[in-house]
Amino acid sequence: MPAMSEKKIRPEDDGRDFANAAWSIPSYLLSGMILYGGAGWLLSKWTGVVAFTPIGLILGVALAIYLVYRKYGR
């Protein structure tokens, strides 16, 4: 994907990219936390080790941040 700063943007699409990004960022964060936090929670219920839930949550946050970086920050 060409870097956002070099692409030629038509006037009507200009607000779209930013608005898409701005609304999808909290959405990615939330869904990463829910997905991997939920997986961590299920894992901790299955194995009994309580620590998996926060590990899963932090992993979800980190992955979501990485996704935003690759998608919108290059």
Partner: protein, 75 residues
């Protein structure tokens, strides 16, 4: 030792309320400075937008972690 002061009730909501102060200020600073930067140099809009979004996602992550912290750290 006697108890001088005590907080009862929903500690989770107090915790989240306190945890939302930092990211709130942070997001305000990011976008405020970003808008100012765009006003000063409109042709750098693409570059500024990228950095704004990156900063925003890092700050927002803290706010959302604050939301789930009561569940993470148990009762």
């Amino acid at each position: 030792m006697s108890v001088l002061a005590e907080v009862t009730g929903s500690l989770g909501s107090i915790g989240y309320g306190l945890a939302a102060i930092g990211p709130g200020i942070g997001v305000g600073i990011i976008f405020g400075q970003g808008v100012q930067a765009i006003a000063r140099q409109p042709e750098a809009y693409g570059l500024i937008r990228q950095n704004m979004l990156l900063g925003f996602v890092l700050t927002e992550a803290l706010a959302l972690i604050g939301l789930v912290a009561p569940f993470m750290f148990g009762q």
